[in-house]
């Protein structure tokens, strides 16, 4: 094979490729994940879960479990009712059962919690709990659930007589209807973005330790948002916030799965309070897949209007959004469908309108969702599929149709038809570059030749506009908490530094990237900068890492704090050099006197001076530190152009992704190696969702994706060797211009893969996942509905 190995580079002082600071512990097996934690006297928890999707609880008999010699406590909903914790607020203005008291509403719902001396005994004791259920009709199909007369799932809500959650719309309906009425061409397509799961390799879990002497509760937890968790524990459980410490240690992948508060966490806390011992709870894989935050489950009806020449004029979409048994979508926007109204995508339209209806079903609640930036994934899939459907209708090349309609550079900042203000972009350049890397014209020629021979080759394109960096308080909060993030930068006397973050890493490499942000501002080598994160006792407040918000929000906070340190360093340097601050010039790592570069002080000398005996001007305090709370004025809008090339076996429907070209623009790249890694991972996600992943249900409400034998994830064999390209368009409103990259590829890649497969087989639409069976059925003209098991 061709070697891509380059000589090791020196560590940059600032932005640039550098090896990750966190890697030495991971490659030695010395990571510190939640399940690695062992505390003296620690007990183990296990959750008893409902076997039925919908049933009334007649009785729960825990006596045999309690009699088990190694069991220390058995907790049921009744126990929690005494603490007012049987139900907790969801993150979407609903309530969520911690342990079921009245009914179970999805298969896998939490019913009881056992605390025992060891893992295996806790599981044994679950078998000893007798639950008598009165089965009720399961409501599995969102389309049936919304109909009048459907069995009511949420009869816990006073006066509830249906399964309706919300109706929400955005855009100008009248203007859109007018555009459609006048349109020369209208294409309509129904499509499902099926329920998928983040499935991080580490499942969710916690260790709770209530110290009865000090009254301090420490929770080590698989959380992407430790500060938000702490505040919610304080608000919901009435625990004093200063007596709660939430620690998010090394996290084995999050992808949105670890944003919310799960019943197991709450039960671990209660278990520790009841027993006086630390309690560890780690869910198994089936529990993770069946009960924790899923993603998507959007039934979409799209319409696109255009002229015969291929100028897109309007988009209209209706969505039925399946939110499962509790509306626990952990998204911070004030819009029930998150950022879905960015479905106008990357195109210059006259009008657009969407209407989304949320519905309860007897499925697991959710979902923040899986690297989706709050429904952007669904929105991008919708528009990119509709554009391909239109291209088919017009007989136009999908690249040409996109190029004709993409927003132009001079239109930015651009206010889209549903109100978002896109910050910056050069869209045609990104698509041109992707086509250049792909050798687009040559691929089309090859495809034509193969078609003559009866071989199925497909080329799929997607162009996406992401919206990340949540977010401005006007549009976003979590239970009233605004989304500003804090950061603190402190330079020690010897010129080494520490930066404390409100966000934390689940693998994104914060310990390296954030050191580089400080290094770029102060000229201190990244290896001399300690990055502290994931511990509420040691970091400033902020709402955590999800929705690609770490670099856009916390990265800005860190950059501004470091700039403030530099401003102070200027004053200290001026005192040391006995010149006016205005006479100093900054060169990365030192201040020097204008016109006399030899008269200078390095940042390390300044740090020592700031802690020393230098006479500082009146009103200037010593030491060298600063903080910042960054309140983002707008979101950031990364974008990209993706091209996927597939070969499909006509006889079996098996899809082979031959090539995948991804051109991303996330603004300046702090560490290009890490950025590429983020993109690679998202592309694999996209291939997985497009071809393999789905959590379907049978008509009895049984979850059919409850293990990795059923919920298929892409391996090294399904993934091609990704081909990346980039353009760089800084965000004009961000202190260092960066836009975020964590989810771009997950958002952008599924439609490229689907468009490629459908291009290969010459079918206008078939729902994901495009398994061999689904592709084969699509070729016969009878694609399946993928969210339900067929008879």
């Amino acid at each position: 094979m061709t070697s891509t190995i380059e000589a090791p580079e020196a560590n940059p002082i600032g932005f640039g490729r550098m090896k990750r600071k966190e890697d030495p512990r991971f490659v030695r097996g010395q990571g510190n994940y939640v399940d690695d934690l062992q505390l003296p006297g620690m007990l183990y928890g296990a959750v008893l879960r409902s076997t039925l999707p919908h049933a009334r609880i007649v009785s729960i008999d825990t006596s045999a479990a309690e009699a088990h010699p190694k069991v220390k406590a058995v907790i049921t909903g009744k126990t929690l009712e005494t603490l007012n914790l049987a139900w907790i607020p969801s993150l979407s203005h609903d309530v969520l059962a911690v342990l079921a008291t009245d009914k179970v509403r999805f298969q896998g719902q939490e019913v009881a919690f056992v605390v025992a001396e060891d893992r295996y005994s806790a599981r044994d004791a679950l078998e000893l709990i007798e639950v008598e259920y009165e089965p009720l009709d399961p409501v599995i199909d969102a389309k049936q659930a919304i109909l009048p007369g459907a069995t009511v799932i949420r009869d816990d809500i006073a006066g509830k007589t249906d399964n309706h959650i919300f109706d929400w719309e955005a855009g100008d309906k009248a203007a859109t209807d007018a555009v459609f009425a006048a349109a020369e061409v209208v294409v309509t397509q129904d499509m499902l973005y099926p329920r998928v799961h983040p499935a991080p390799m580490e499942t969710c879990g916690a260790v709770a330790d209530m110290n009865k002497v000090t009254g301090k509760l420490t929770i080590w937890c698989t959380t992407q948002a430790p500060h938000a968790h702490r505040t919610l524990y304080a608000l919901v459980a009435g625990l004093p916030e200063h007596q709660i410490r939430v620690v998010s240690p090394d996290i084995g992948g999050g992808f949105g799965n670890k944003v919310g508060i799960y019943p197991g966490y709450v039960c671990s806390v209660v278990g520790s309070i009841l027993t006086g011992k630390p309690v560890k709870w780690m869910e198994d894989r089936s529990e993770n897949l069946m009960s924790t935050s899923f993603a998507r489950d959007y039934h979409m009806h799209g319409e696109i209007a255009a002229t015969r020449e291929g100028k897109i004029t309007g988009l209209r979409v209706r969505v039925l959004a399946d939110h499962g048994a509790f509306n626990n979508t952990a998204q911070p926007t004030k819009f029930p469908a998150g950022f879905f109204h960015i479905f106008t995508g990357s195109y210059d339209l006259q009008a657009a309108h969407c209407a989304v209806t949320g519905v309860y079903t007897n499925k697991a609640p959710g979902g923040v969702a899986y690297a989706c930036s709050f429904r952007v994934t669904e929105a991008v899939y919708l528009v990119e599929r509709m554009v391909d459907c239109l291209a088919g209708e017009l007989g136009m090349d999908p690249a040409e149709l996109r190029m004709k309609n993409l927003l132009r550079k001079e239109q930015f900042p651009y206010t889209c038809k549903t109100g978002w203000v896109y910050d910056s972009g050069d869209y045609p350049r990104a698509l041109e570059l992707a086509m250049e890397i792909a050798g687009y014209d040559e691929l089309r020629r090859e495809q034509a030749e193969k078609r003559k021979r009866g071989e199925l080759m497909g080329i799929g394109i997607s162009f996406f506009t992401e919206t990340v960096g949540a977010g401005p308080k006007k549009h976003m909060d979590i239970l009233g908490l605004g989304m500003a993030d804090g950061a603190e930068v402190r330079v020690h006397p010897t010129g080494k530094a520490v930066v404390r973050l409100s966000v934390q890493t689940q693998g994104q490499g914060h310990e390296t990237t954030f050191a580089q942000i400080v290094a770029e501002q102060l000229g201190i080598p990244p290896l001399d900068i300690d990055v502290v994160h994931g511990d509420t006792d040691n970091t400033p407040f902020g709402l955590g890492t999800y929705g690609s918000r770490s670099t856009p929000v916390s990265g800005a906070a860190v950059a501004v704090a470091a700039q403030r340190v530099r401003d102070k360093a200027r004053i200290v340097a001026s005192a040391m050099l006995e010149v006016s601050p205005d006479d100093l010039e900054w060169e990365k790592g030192r201040f020097f006197v204008k016109g006399d570069p030899s008269a200078s002080k390095t940042i390390q000398e300044i740090a020592l001076g700031a802690h020393g005996t230098v006479e500082l001007p009146e009103g200037v305090e010593g030491h060298l530190d600063a903080d910042c709370v960054y309140d983002p004025p707008n979101l950031t809008f990364p974008f990209g152009a993706y091209i996927c090339v597939v070969d499909v076996d006509r006889g079996t429907g098996v899809v082979k992704v031959r090539r995948f070209i991804a051109v991303d623009d996330c603004g300046p790249r702090i560490n290009p190696m890490i950025v590429d890694g983020q993109i690679h991972g998202g592309l694999a996600d996209g291939v997985g969702m497009a071809l393999m992943e789905v959590i379907a249900f049978d008509k009895e409400g049984n979850c059919l994706g409850g293990s990795f034998m059923d919920y298929l994830l892409p391996t090294s064999l399904e993934c091609p060797s990704w081909e990346l390209g980039m353009t760089v368009t800084p965000s004009p409103h961000h202190p260092i211009g960066v836009k975020g990259i964590g989810e771009s590829a997950t958002v952008g890649s599924p439609p490229a893969v689907v468009n490629a497969v459908l291009d290969a087989i010459g079918v206008r639409h078939a729902d994901m996942p495009l398994t061999p069976a689904q592709v084969w059925r699509a070729m016969q003209g009878t694609p399946l509905r993928t969210d339900l098991a067929i008879e």
Binding site: P24, G509, Q678
Partner: protein, 159 residues
């Protein structure tokens, strides 16, 4: 029941429940936390370690089945303060993000290189195809293993 096995060169004897999984014995009893647990069903490979020189998924091996066997885990890759080239390769080529699948991936990679010192991309992809990584999209894992193949001794880069 009592089991005796060699773990990373040290003989270990313990009294265990017959049903105890090897992954839990390694993690909870021997406190070797580099071997992870991810799925229950032998699908994810975060629990891969060596038994008698062959990679196995320790979530579906009973500790009792390891009686009299030789076990090697990720903690034994580094020798004399020098990282195995596979470990160094994962660092050099950004072959890991969250680090959870990494130990299992590296144990398979070491086995591959011991049996095929100059594997092609296809051979590497085949070798790690029984393991799942959710972060990297595999490309950099392939590069990391190629790096290790091209740097059979890491003494210099690791110095």
């Amino acid at each position: 029941m009592q089991v005796t096995m060699t773990v990373n060169g040290n003989e270990v004897t313990a009294t265990i429940e017959p049903r105890l999984l090897l992954v839990h014995f390694i993690r909870d009893h021997l406190l070797l936390r580099g071997t992870h647990w991810g799925c229950d069903t032998s699908n994810c490979g975060t629990c891969v370690l060596w038994m008698d020189g062959e990679p196995v998924k320790s979530c579906t091996v009973l500790a009792a089945m390891a009686n009299g066997r030789e076990i090697r885990t990720v903690e034994d890759l580094e020798r004399g303060g020098v990282l195995d080239p596979v470990q160094q390769g994962f660092i050099e080529e950004h072959g890991l993000q969250c680090g959870f699948c990494t130990p299992g991936m590296m144990m398979t990679a070491r086995w591959l290189l011991d049996h095929n010192p100059d594997p092609s991309e296809e051979e590497i992809r085949e070798a790690i195809s029984g393991q799942i990584c959710r972060c990297t999209g595999y490309k950099n894992i392939v590069s990391a293993i190629r790096w290790a193949a091209e740097h059979p001794s890491t003494t210099e880069v690791n110095a």
